[in-house]
Amino acid sequence: MTDFLSEEPLLRASGVTRFYGDRIGCRDVSFELWPGEVLAIVGESGSGKTTLLNCLATRLAPTAGAIEYRMRDGAMRDLFQLTEAERRFLMRTDWGFVHQNAADGLRMTVSAGANVGERLMAVGNRHYGNIRGTALDWLERVEIDGTRIDDDPRAFSGGMRQRLQIARNLVTGPRLVFMDEPTGGLDVSVQARLLDLLRGLVADLGLSVVIVTHDLAVARLLSHRMIVMRNGEVIETGLTDQVLDDPQAPYTQLLVSSILQV
């Protein structure tokens, strides 16, 4: 369950900076993420939010700054001091990464069951019956009919693919999940269903989430706290409701007032 009383942060970013040559990806970003907390990174295209996410998830090395993570044994470790083997192990057990385009996060040529089971096999599970049982269970949890277990993700709709990707990430019981625009490219009703599902899973599993989105409605529904970025820098942080209801920075005010009212 959500545990705000924990004294120790799960993830700590200090002065994270990433340059692409002379250009800024993101500059001097610092924050702490607590166990069970959902943090949204919002901003317009090109504001550096995906660069920041990739740095946090060790998919991209920051030019400067440090990112620390509390391992399962309770020790705070600098992610870029870990060996590559440790980092990759962390990524496929204790972390998840949900891509905007499900095809980037799925193996499109193997069945849904194998997609969910891959992480289990990667950590040494060698019992076919158990792997399949767990896969079925997870398909059900993300509202995919169990009879589709042997179908390729290519035969799935966009929304189903995204849900499959989420199941594939959560099967090893990660503590931290990174999401890059998980609802991007889906139509509104599918988005709503996915958000509903995500909110339920996050609460049930007590997940910590860093979610990148340009959609303030997604941030409002899912996140506890948010970071607003522009031109690679953080311009406002705070509780989600506080930032959205009473934006302080002029840019945030602009962003909030740009939401279409239907």
Binding site: E84, A85, R88, R107, T109, V110, S111, G113, A114, G117, E118, R119, M121, A122, V123, G124, R126, H127, Y128, G129, I131, R132, I149, D150
Partner: protein
């Protein structure tokens, strides 16, 4: 221009076709492969006078380990007299003037495509495999950089994803050849396109095994007496193909059989894939239930006079 006298040796090929520097380079790769069982060692494969897919890797490995005193046997699909085997045997007869044989027990080096001889090999023999695609992870992970990393970090979960797919779609592990193995508890390796029937022979084999992939420019090896385990699931253990009939010509059981179509009336028979093993058994007087069939004795061919006599009796 001065005329230069051409000595008798000039203009001929170096022993076993490849020049000595190339052989040294290949031997280094082989030694490294032996030191790290199952690890794919890159090497600078040369153009050989045969197309890729015909055993350019195996031929280079054989050329590098071949000595004047060696006796060479070449197998293609278990047989000594199919095109690929005949061509490669002829190649080394011409370029190295070594003795060749079709008898497994007389050979010191056996180059093979697909099969491992039924007769148990000895410590004095080297088995050279022709490998088309050395990377067992290739069909699931197309990036070479990534597969190398996976080998380095021993991340082999993906291999089981392939086996999982087999069971999910076919109810059992349907991979019948190039069945992945783990060598010495470390590297996952593709035993080339040998049928999985031969996988148990790879385990703890007395002979040295060398694998050469010419197009992909990789060499790997399994030293004698090395543990080789075929991958499987706890509830779907590895098993080899079973044949319900013995060999039609020599009556051998527990060997790998080829199906041979005899006519267009649905006539067929199953015979040993290892032709040398079959001939040897027939010479010893073993007779299969199809040996008397005229179509079958035609199949047994000129090389097996013994079978013909038996068939006639």
């Amino acid at each position: 221009m001065t005329a230069v006298a051409i000595t008798e040796t000039e203009g001929e090929y170096n022993f076993a076709y490849l020049d000595e520097q190339t052989k040294r380079m290949i031997r280094r790769a082989i030694l490294k492969g032996i030191a790290i069982p199952g690890y794919q060692v890159p090497f600078a494969a040369r153009e050989m006078p045969m197309p890729y897919g015909w055993g350019t890797g195996g031929v280079q490995v054989t050329a590098a380990v071949l000595g004047r005193e060696d006796t060479l046997k070449v197998i293609d699909q278990g047989s000594d007299d199919t095109t690929n085997a005949v061509a490669i045997r002829g190649f080394f007869e011409k370029t190295a003037q070594v003795k060749t044989t079709s008898a497994t027990k007389d050979a010191t080096i056996i180059q093979t495509r697909h099969r491992i001889p039924e007769k148990e090999l000895t410590e004095d023999q080297i088995l050279v495999f022709q490998v088309p695609i050395p990377e067992p992870l290739r069909f699931l992970e197309p990036r070479e950089t990534e597969t190398r990393k996976m080998h380095a970090l021993e991340e082999y979960g993906l291999m089981h994803v392939k086996l999982y797919e087999d069971i999910a779609h076919h109810g059992r592990i349907a991979t019948t050849y190039a069945y992945p193995v783990k060598v010495a508890d470390r590297y996952v390796m593709d035993p080339s396109p040998t049928p999985k029937f031969d996988n148990p022979k790879i385990d703890n084999m007395k002979a040295l095994q060398l694998y050469g992939a010419g197009r992909e420019k990789r060499i790997y090896a399994i030293p004698p007496y090395t543990k080789v385990k075929s991958l499987d699931f706890d509830d779907h253990p590895f098993e080899v193909q079973k044949f319900d009939k013995p060999c039609g010509l020599c009556g051998a059981r527990h060997v790998y059989l080829d199906e041979v179509v005899l006519d267009d009336q649905g006539g067929r028979m199953f015979v040993c894939s290892d032709s040398d093993y079959c001939e040897e058994r027939r010479a010893e007087g073993h007779v299969g239930d199809m040996a008397a069939n005229p179509a079958a004795s035609h199949l047994a061919g000129k090389s097996s006079g013994a079978a013909k006599t038996e068939a006639g009796e």
